[in-house]
Symmetry: C2
Subunit: 321 residues, 2 copies
């Protein structure tokens, strides 16, 4: 699914000769991430993930992503640590592609997240926000409110083939979000894609956060809203308020939300649901007939959006106003 580029051992050994990580013992292409080629490397000094960046990742953003991982790791977040070569570079070139190595993190991601997992991810997200507060680089969020109308235009003509009156629903929601979107809440580094497959656990203990390739500078509480969408709904699309409370309380033990952030949360959740509804819809409509890969269902996020539209306040997510 995810290995696009084979790397000959002879080329890999030449690449590794610039690093201080011992001798190569084995490497396997792994099915992780959908945008890049990833290998799990074992050398005489440990385990590493080697990533070759395929064309969907903009090369000019790589110093931001690698710098951010290094910054967050140095501040104690359990995230991959980029490995620098002897010239001090974290970004190299292999098989004609930009390439970087990071340390390997143990742990498994939960397919059926529990309340304890939700508490863990809430706390980790808040730690990430605090650890990122003095990161000097910035990156605009292309998938925040200003980017949604462009996605809608790509999908609007055929949206109603996917679900009755989907185009009209999205148009109305888009207008609502654009009109009311809060601009003055605390900003900083957000992960922007902290779904269960990007969070590792050993038992109920969170052991690592990975995949910073959507990270950017945006409203911190919007990142909380993305997590509420990604972690706290059941497979029947019902919202589990116990999980919501666990996630929010886990977050607030590390970084309490302001009254303004709490008040904005239902709206931020609507926006987050709309963002994933739109990107999934565009992917869904771009898949050729008969393709083997089935994209993720956009209607899951349509149903989540319906929940958020009906929410009166942050109480509906499990905590007091």
């Amino acid at each position: 699914m995810a290995v696009y580029t084979d790397v000959a051992v002879e080329d890999l050994e030449a690449f590794l000769a610039d690093y201080d990580i011992g001798n190569l013992l084995s490497y396997k292409g792994i099915a992780e991430g959908v945008e890049n080629t990833n290998f799990l490397l074992h050398t005489s000094s440990g385990y590493f993930i080697l990533t070759l960046y395929e064309k969907r990742v903009a090369t000019h953003d790589l110093p931001f992503f690698l710098g951010l991982m290094e910054h967050l790791h140095a501040r104690g977040l359990n995230c991959p640590q980029p490995v620098r070569n002897r010239a001090g570079e974290a970004l190299g070139k292999l098989a004609k592609r930009p390439a970087a190595m990071v340390t390997f993190l143990e742990g498994v991601w939960p397919r059926r997240p529990s309340v304890a997992h939700c508490a863990g991810v809430g706390a980790a997200l808040a730690k990430l926000h605090l650890a990122g507060s003095d990161f000097p680089m910035k990156r605009k969020n292309a998938l925040s409110v200003a980017g949604w109308s462009g996605l809608y235009q790509q999908a609007s003509a055929r949206a109603d083939n996917v679900h009755r009156n989907l185009s009209g629903t999205i148009a109305a929601e888009l207008a609502y979000c654009e009109k009311h979107w809060p601009e003055n809440l605390p900003h900083g580094i957000i992960h922007a894609d902290l779904f269960p497959d990007n969070v590792f656990f050993l038992g109920s203990e969170l052991s690592g956060v990975i995949d910073f390739y959507f990270a950017c500078t945006d409203t911190l509480a919007y990142d909380v809203a993305i997590c509420l969408n990604a972690w706290c709904f059941e497979t029947d699309h019902s919202f589990n308020v116990t999980k919501g409370r666990a996630l929010l309380q886990g977050y607030e033990k590390v970084r309490p939300l302001s009254a303004q952030e709490r008040a904005a949360l239902p709206l931020l959740c609507r926006g987050a649901a709309l963002r994933f509804l739109l990107t999934r819809l565009v992917d869904w409509l771009s898949v050729p007939a008969g393709a083997l890969v089935r994209p993720k269902d956009p209607i899951e996020y349509y149903r989540k959006l319906r929940f958020h539209q009906a929410a009166a306040s942050v109480r509906d997510y499990g905590i007091e106003e």
Copy 2:
């Protein structure tokens, strides 16, 4: 490319509860093998490969393959060792598929095999043949001489679209092999698919032989012929006699070939080239237009066949008659 079936951590942990291999620390789907789903597992007691057998592997053959690996490993061959669960079973069930775990082998496979690699694979093949000599189970080789006419019939009508007069060339070669194929050479367990991607090295030392899913009972020297085809040609399809000599001498240090086996080697090499020409041709012709996966080039084996047809004796492969 190779991961067909995702396994939820919750299901994997339930599966592992029947084994004595400690706690799960991580697992990654790996792009290895094209027939099955493979995961690299790390538990508190080590590293393992977990294989889910997809439909292309006949379930009734699995006890043969697993029993053979266990037998060969017990006799000192560097090959994966099946892990039995507490009930003594090597074959279980996971995600509705037959599933087995084997020990992980370090090493990397050479994309550009050297003379030293060829010597190593020759010796390992001979060790495999000796270690298999008292394995009690049998499995017919469906891809030996009796199976080739069936493959030819699938491909003959369109073979000339792939290469000028390919159908006629194959028909003549098939008739020749069927008429002259040696039936009285030493038989036993053969690997039958010992290509470079199935042999791991650490430096120039062979560290492991994997993928026994074509293993069967057949002429031992035919396995040598498969290896000469797979390891000793350069990318321009020229035969490298130094590599041939290294492979054959490596083999003979462990198991000397008889005069009859030596005499039959050019014919066995023709048959081995024909076998891979035929299976690759069938795959090539069965790929739909516009498919993303490009099958292996059958013409590579057509050119190898031409070399073998011109060979006068085993001297052309680098050793004395």
